[in-house]
């Protein structure tokens, strides 16, 4: 009864039946972890352990442990924060915007991408908390009445908008992800016995798969997607306003919101590709996450990468065209100054030039090239944030204040902390949760699966 479209290549290969989907995905949850998983998990825990020590020292002794100085008050902390938040944009984009656009290829990757989003936002939040210097006072950012001896928070400030944007984004993404997991937990519950049945039974919230429940589930998914779509765009818009509403040359730019959003999708998709290309091999999911998926994502990368490239050029043009000497100087200094030219040209190479290779179909469909470029893109996106933040601050209005930023071991250690945290959480997710949305993949099996010979 399976039908293959003559125009579109199948989304699921290998002649999978609906039952095969259950088998293939549930197997990883039910089997003992593989040696590769244990090795990766151990490495993540070691990184997390070292990072935790560095983060603890940063909290104990204060952010003087970082390489900040009087001129450069934001450097790696905010760079890392924006980088992680940007990475955290792909998951909700894939599950919400691609759901609204009825892009069925999202079904194989949305679960893992959403998990990645949630973990990336946790990593980003750890820098927000750390950069406050006194993390135990983090609740001061909330609008609490002034019985605490302070005023209300200033709702004119983009930093307060950020608190609302990031926490809303995290909460809504988490809920969206969990609602999607519920039917799959029910599938695992029905296959399990003993303590696993109790645990997955609780996680499945007593889902029975009745038509009425599915009808409500679909209504919830659609409205959550509709809410998440503007939300995901708003988050990086507001993050960019942290810079754009200031009066620092190099930050004070109206182009920032769309430019940051495109950059976020760009880096998020690259991170999804990095993770999915590993996951599909480790968990033998080549039939579910195919070269077609990779190619679709690469097309989005070349689109958003080009938007980012045009934004860089527009910024440069406007810096000259505006005839503001400070603005022009900042940009000339970024690209050709003695201090940071290497960061600027790393950014240009990684973000503007390298993704253009995806115009070639062979590159787009090559796993090795895609894996390499997906990492290159995220290196480039880190440099983008570093260039924006550090170079703009390094040349103050007073030449006597000019400074250079050198990271300390604690800058590096705190960055490693987030890597350890991210991969620990992702590996735990990959082991104990279904990495592919079984229910959604089953719903496309008939229309988009490769033909099985026997049927």
């Amino acid at each position: 009864m399976q039908v293959t479209s003559p125009v579109r290549p199948p989304l699921v290969t290998g002649g999978k039946t609906v039952s095969d989907v259950t088998q293939d995905i549930s197997r990883h949850v039910e089997n003992k972890p593989t040696k590769l998983w244990i090795l990766a998990f151990t490495l993540s825990l070691i990184t997390l352990g070292y990072g935790s020590y560095c983060l603890w020292m940063t909290w104990w002794d204060g952010i003087g442990m970082w390489g900040l100085n009087k001129t450069i008050g934001w450097a790696w902390d905010i760079t890392n924060f924006v980088w992680w938040v940007g990475i955290g944009h792909a998951g909700t984009l894939i599950s919400a915007i691609l759901l609204l656009f009825r892009q069925k290829w999202r079904t194989s990757i949305n679960r893992a991408a959403e998990a990645m989003t949630i973990f990336a936002v946790i990593c980003a939040a750890s820098f927000i908390i750390a950069h406050m210097g006194r993390p135990w006072l983090a609740y001061w950012a909330l609008p609490l009445p002034n019985a605490f001896g302070s005023l209300w928070v200033n709702f004119n400030s983009p930093l307060v908008w950020d608190v609302f944007a990031i926490s809303t984004y995290f909460t809504v993404s988490l809920v969206f992800w969990y609602i999607g997991l519920v039917p799959d937990f029910a599938t695992i519950r029905e296959r399990a016995t003993g303590i696993r049945r109790v645990v997955y039974g609780a996680l499945s919230l007593g889902w029975d798969g009745s038509a009425k429940s599915w009808q409500r589930y679909e209504a919830v998914s659609l409205v959550l997607a509709g809410c998440s779509t503007p939300l995901v765009l708003s988050v990086h818009t507001i993050v960019s306003m942290d810079f754009a509403t200031s009066v620092i040359p190099g930050w004070h730019a109206t182009i920032f919101p769309p430019y940051f959003v495109a950059g976020a999708i760009f880096s998020g998709f690259a991170m999804v590709l990095t993770l999915m290309l590993i996951t599909r091999v480790v968990f033998k999911l080549e039939d579910y996450i195919t070269v077609e998926h990779m190619e679709s994502m690469n097309k989005i990368i070349v689109l958003t990468g080009s938007i980012v490239g045009i934004a860089y050029l527009s910024e440069f043009f406007i810096a000259w065209y505006s005839d503001v000497p400070y603005e022009s100087y900042t940009f000339i200094n970024r690209a050709f100054g003695d201090d940071y030219w290497w960061a600027y040209w790393s950014m240009m190479t990684c973000n503007v030039i390298s993704p253009q290779l995806f115009w070639f179909r062979t590159v787009r469909r090559s796993i090795a090239w895609t894996f390499l470029l997906s990492i290159v893109v995220n290196i480039g996106m880190w440099f983008e944030r570093f260039v924006i933040i550090a170079t703009s601050l390094s040349r103050d209005f007073l030449p006597s204040s000019w400074a250079y930023f050198s990271p300390t071991l604690y800058d590096i250690g705190d960055y490693l902390f987030t890597f350890g945290l991210f991969f620990t959480l992702f590996l735990l997710f990959a082991k104990f949760f279904p990495v592919v949305n079984m229910a959604e993949v089953k719903s496309i099996i008939k229309s988009s699966s490769a033909k099985k010979d026997t049927k």
Binding site: M1, V18, S19, T22, P143, N146, L151, W152, V153, N154, F155, N156, P158, W161, F164, A165, T168, T171, V172, V175, F176, I179, P183, A186, T187, R189, E190, R197, G201, A202, L203, L205, G206, W207, D208, G209, S210, A211, K212, S213, W214, Q215, R216, Y217, A219, V220, V223, L224, C227, P230, L231, S234, I238, M241, M438, A439, E440, K442, S443, K446
Partner: protein, 178 residues
């Protein structure tokens, strides 16, 4: 035996056969108790005669609550409770309040709708394991469940009807009344 409710369960292997069966059964006057599927089958709710869900309306109302709360919070604190003169700018600059208002609207709409969904569908992590007519309905089988007492046809007639519509198995189950 008389204590419980008698159910006839038609097991289907394919969603299109299921959809046709729903049409045939309903036009033969059979009252279908409920259908159970491993994934959302588009149009099944219409075929079963279910009214569209009101959850989007709930989401709108929760979202509206979020908007009002956010405006009360921002205007109340910045405009009335502790107005601050920031460079002579207005005390209530509405454009500056848009981000927080937007975020709280989305937050309340999402959380409110999901909470409503969980409550009306009786989804909760504690207390019970749901009654499953056939555990395979979370894997690859589609079930149509018919309450024998609420239908005029007897067991054999229903079984035949199910077979004719393409059910791969027809089972019966007696469920004790709670």
């Amino acid at each position: 035996m008389s204590k419980g409710t008698n159910y006839i369960i038609g097991v289907f292997d394919d969603e299109d056969v299921l959809m046709d069966a729903v049409g045939t059964l309903r036009s033969s006057g059979v009252k279908i108790q409920e259908a159970y599927t491993p994934f959302p089958v588009h149009g099944l709710d219409d075929a079963l005669g279910y009214k569209p869900s009101n959850l989007p309306i709930a989401a709108f109302l929760f979202g509206l609550t979020g908007t009002i709360c956010a405006l009360l919070l921002t205007i109340g604190t910045m405009g009335f409770d502790w107005p601050m003169d920031i460079g002579g700018k207005p005390f209530i600059p509405l454009p500056h309040f848009i981000p927080v208002t937007f975020e709280l609207t989305i937050l309340l709409a999402s959380l409110g709708m999901v909470a409503t969904f969980l409550i009306i569908s009786n989804l909760k992590p504690w207390g019970y394991e749901p009654f499953m007519f056939d555990g395979r309905s979370t894997d690859d089988k589609f079930l149509l469940v018919v309450d024998l007492d609420k239908n005029k046809l007897d067991k054999d007639a229903l079984t035949n009807l199910f077979k004719q519509t393409g059910a791969s198995e027809v089972n019966s189950k007696i469920v004790e009344n709670h």
